[in-house]
């Protein structure tokens, strides 16, 4: 018989802007209208889990901009924060500034206050423990638009509790030296409707600067800039979408599909962001300036392999 382990838990004193449980997401559900979801920045997710000794696909807490403020009750455990994040750890009578990519011990009564991400969007909070979560289609990932996943598909809010099931026995503190690099040139492969756009429109797409709009979230990133002119049709028959697809609706402003995107769409696809750039793309905060750069499929495949090797090397250093 399993002993009820409600003795180890976090209280959420402040939920933050968009704080959710995420893991690797859900597969093979596009055909019924359910997107991948899962963490936005996969490398920071993997590093977070490795740094607290979890298996690499364990659930983590993802936050955007301002993160949660939490108070811990229970036995000693490890936690880590990854990304480019400003946070404080409050012990009995003193407070320290936390460093990302360093795991810390947390004792009964300690508080973590995740103040904000720094010139980026997403950060990750991993706990060296199994968390009591509901899984749907083998994933805890919260999709707030369809109310799917743990916490009834809703973002975490103040007053809630995060119950822990089994704290990892190895509490060795770990760290890795890693700095998130910024991306300015987003590499794309031409989309299936590339020829819907005027020569001038195509030129604008690859030469001009675009600005990330405030209307960006886990579903999509909206960009503003010079209008990309469509000369064929501003609608297509609805068809499947994938992460990274750049649609251009009638208003001429591109929208990039992100992890919680609608599974089908009816706007022409001018391009698709390549996989290697996805982790850095999602970290572009509103107001960031970006340019699109064309790349061939074979180069995209090679670059992704290199990126994966780099991730593996980082994980091996921990």
């Amino acid at each position: 018989m399993r002993v009820a382990m409600t003795s180890n838990y976090f209280e959420i004193l402040r939920g933050g802007i968009n704080t959710t449980f995420q893991d690797k997401g859900r597969e093979n559900l596009y055909h019924i209208g359910i997107p991948f979801s899962g963490v936005m920045d996969n490398r920071n997710f993997l590093l977070a889990n490795k740094l607290v000794g979890n298996h690499l696909s364990a659930p983590v807490i993802e936050f955007a901009y301002q993160g949660p403020h939490l108070r811990y009750t229970g036995d000693q455990l490890n936690f880590v924060i990854t990304g480019d994040v400003i946070f404080k750890i409050k012990k009995n009578d003193y407070e320290i500034d936390g460093d990302c990519y360093h795991s810390y011990h947390l004792e009964n009564g300690d508080e973590i206050n995740i103040i904000s991400t720094n010139k980026s969007v997403y950060g990750y909070f991993a706990i060296g423990s199994e968390i009591d979560l509901k899984f749907q289609w083998n994933s805890c990932s919260i999709n707030t638009k369809a109310n799917i996943g743990s916490n009834n598909g809703k973002k975490l809010d103040s007053g809630q509790k995060i119950n822990l099931l089994k704290i990892n026995s190895d509490k060795t503190l770990k760290k890795v030296n890693y700095i998130n690099s910024k991306i300015e040139n987003i590499r794309v492969i031409k989309g299936t409707n590339f020829d819907y756009f005027s020569d001038e429109g195509k030129k604008i797409f690859f030469e001009k600067e675009f600005i990330v709009s405030k209307l960006s979230d886990r579903m999509g990133m909206r960009l503003e800039g010079p209008k990309i002119e469509n000369i064929v049709n501003t609608n297509i028959k609805s068809e499947g979408l994938v992460k990274g697809v750049i649609q251009v609706p009638a208003d001429g402003n591109p929208i990039i599909m992100l992890s919680d995107h609608g599974t089908v769409g009816g706007y022409p696809k001018i391009g698709v962001v390549v996989s290697v750039d996805y982790d850095r793309l999602v970290q572009l905060a509103p107001g960031s300036k970006v340019k699109f750069q064309e790349i061939e499929l074979s180069d995209a495949e090679t670059l992704f392999k290199l990126y994966e090797m780099e991730t593996k090397n980082l994980l091996n250093q921990i």
Binding site: E27, N28, L29, Y30, H31, I32, G33, I34, F36, Q136, W137, K145, A146, N147, I148, I189, G191, T192, K237, S238, E239, G240, L241, V242, G244, V245, G262, T263, V264, G265, K269, V272, V273, V274, S275, L297, A300, E301, F304, E308
Partner: protein, 225 residues
């Protein structure tokens, strides 16, 4: 027939079945969809059938475009039958504020709402695909005289259960969602049920749908409400 395969980015195949949007083309898409699902090809992590396209997503850590393309080109689709297609009755109440676009449609189509409903409920519909939001079915084809464009400005929130029409298609909003379809009524039926993990969608591609007109009273007393 599968006309062309190209790449959609570096982690998906874009399979084009021609420009015709009709039941025959769509059944061909569904045949490929069923066959690929059955074969469980290593690395494929999502399939998105639509009217005349099939998008095949794969894990770039496991495979790549040319490998999967080769497998799809050499796929034997003669074995798998389009199976288990169901006929489903969907009750719809078109009274009062359920019919959000009654006035707009009367004006646009230049016929009375009564006639619109007669034509709408008179037909059987074929499910071409599901998606956009979880479980939303795209059904067709509606009567020629009911064809109309999307709203010029989409609604920020279309209520869950709304039944809408646009172009040659009808759909059902499975969640409160932004949307631009012309809403003629609302169904109390639960079209997406995430407690049924194995098959959360009531309506699947290939199914036949019959809409049944119900009163407000019948709507309110429905079990699903």
């Amino acid at each position: 027939m599968l006309k062309n395969i190209s790449n959609l980015g570096d982690a998906a195949l874009y399979c084009d079945f021609g420009i015709q949007v009709n039941k025959a083309t769509n059944l061909e898409v569904i045949k490929y969809f069923n066959t690929i699902r059955e074969k469980k090809i290593k690395g494929i992590n999502n399939l998105t059938p639509s009217y005349n396209k099939l998008i095949i997503s794969f894990d770039l850590r496991v495979t790549n475009f040319s490998e999967i393309k080769n497998k799809i080109e050499n796929l034997d689709t003669t074995i798998v039958q389009n199976k288990n297609n169901k006929k489903i009755e969907v009750p719809v109440c078109c009274e009062g504020n359920f019919a959000l676009d009654k006035n707009r449609l009367e004006k646009k189509l230049n016929i009375s709402f009564q006639e619109i409903l007669t034509k709408f409920f008179d037909k059987e519909y074929f499910c071409y695909m599901t998606g956009f939001i979880a479980g939303m079915p795209f059904l067709g084809d509606i009567d020629e005289n009911l064809k109309t464009q999307r709203l010029e400005t989409p609604r920020v929130k279309v209520p869950q259960g709304s039944v809408g029409i646009t172009e040659q298609f009808a759909n059902i909003y499975t969640f409160d969602s932004p949307g631009g379809w012309n809403i003629i009524g609302n169904t109390p039926l639960k079209v997406f049920d995430d407690s049924k993990e194995r098959n959360p969608n009531l309506i699947n591609p290939g199914d036949t749908i019959i809409f049944k007109k119900i009163s407000r009273q019948e709507y309110e007393s429905s079990n699903d409400k």
